[in-house]
Symmetry: C2
Subunit: 164 residues, 2 copies
Amino acid sequence: MIILGIDPGFQFSGFSIIKKENGKIILIEYGFLKMNPAKHLSVRVGEFFNYFEQKITFFNVTDISIETPFLGKNAQNFLKLGYLRGILYLLVNKYNLKIHEFTPRQVKLSITGFGGAGKDQVARVVFQLFPAIKLPNKYDVTDAIAITLCGAWQQKLNTLDFSK
Amino acid sequence: MIILGIDPGFQFSGFSIIKKENGKIILIEYGFLKMNPAKHLSVRVGEFFNYFEQKITFFNVTDISIETPFLGKNAQNFLKLGYLRGILYLLVNKYNLKIHEFTPRQVKLSITGFGGAGKDQVARVVFQLFPAIKLPNKYDVTDAIAITLCGAWQQKLNTLDFSK
C-alpha cells in the first residue's frame, strides 16, 4: 500500500507519500507544489495534473488520501478547489487507485486524539512521528502528512469513536 | 472558431458544438452525456474526460464555453461540479483551447434579451434559431446550446449593457 496524501491549492499544494509494509509506516517522500498565481487557471490545472501523475507513476502509488473541504467565505474559491479534486479523481480512474476522504475533524482526531486540534498541534505530532523531517514549519506539508497517515491508518480510524 | 459549450453534471451533461465561419453560425453537433449515478465518482470523472476529449479532437474544437455556477443549497454538490470544470480546464490546457465563462444572467440576456428569462424562454429562442433541432424539450441541451452561442457571439455580448 503506497498512499499519496494531498492538501491541494492553486498556489501551494502540500503532499506526502507513505508506504505501509507489514504494519510499518515509512514516509518515502514529502514536499509541495508551488504554482504561480499569475498563470491562467487552466495552466495551473495542467501543472497540477502533470506533477502528481509523475509522483503516482514514479512511486507506484496505490491509494490517494484527501481531506473534505468545507465551504469558507468565498464560494468561487471553494468551487476552484473542486477543479484540483477533479484532477485527482481523474488520476484515480486512470491508474485504478483507491481514494480515501476524511473530514478535517477526522484527520485531527486521528493524529492528535482531539478533533478540535489546531494546525500547530497536528504539526507537532507529525514532527514527533517523523523526527527526520527537514521542513520549515509549513503547515500545508504537515497537514498533508497527517492526511496521508489517515489513509494508512484507516483500519485504526474505523475503530475510533467519532461521536465526541 | 469551433466552440464546444457544455452544461456539465454528474448525471447529465448537455453540450453543443458551433462553428463560426465568415460571421455565419453553424450548429454542427449537440447532445448529452448521461452517466450512471451508481458508478463511483472517479469513474464518472474519467468518462466525462474521455467523452469530451473525443469531441474536442474529432471536431477540432478551438474554444470552450461554460456557465459560472452559483452556490445552491448543497455545498458538496457545488464542489463536485468543480470536479467536472477542472476536467474541462485540463482539456483546455492539453489542447491549447480558449475558455469563455458567462454568468447565467449573461447567457439569458444574450439569448433572450432578458437576464431574468426562464429556461423555457431560452429553449424557445434556441428552437427558433435552429428549427432543425430534433430534441425532446431537454433544457440541459438547449441551455448548452445557449452557452455555446454566447461563446460564438462574444463580440456582440461585449457591446451589451449588463447594468439592466
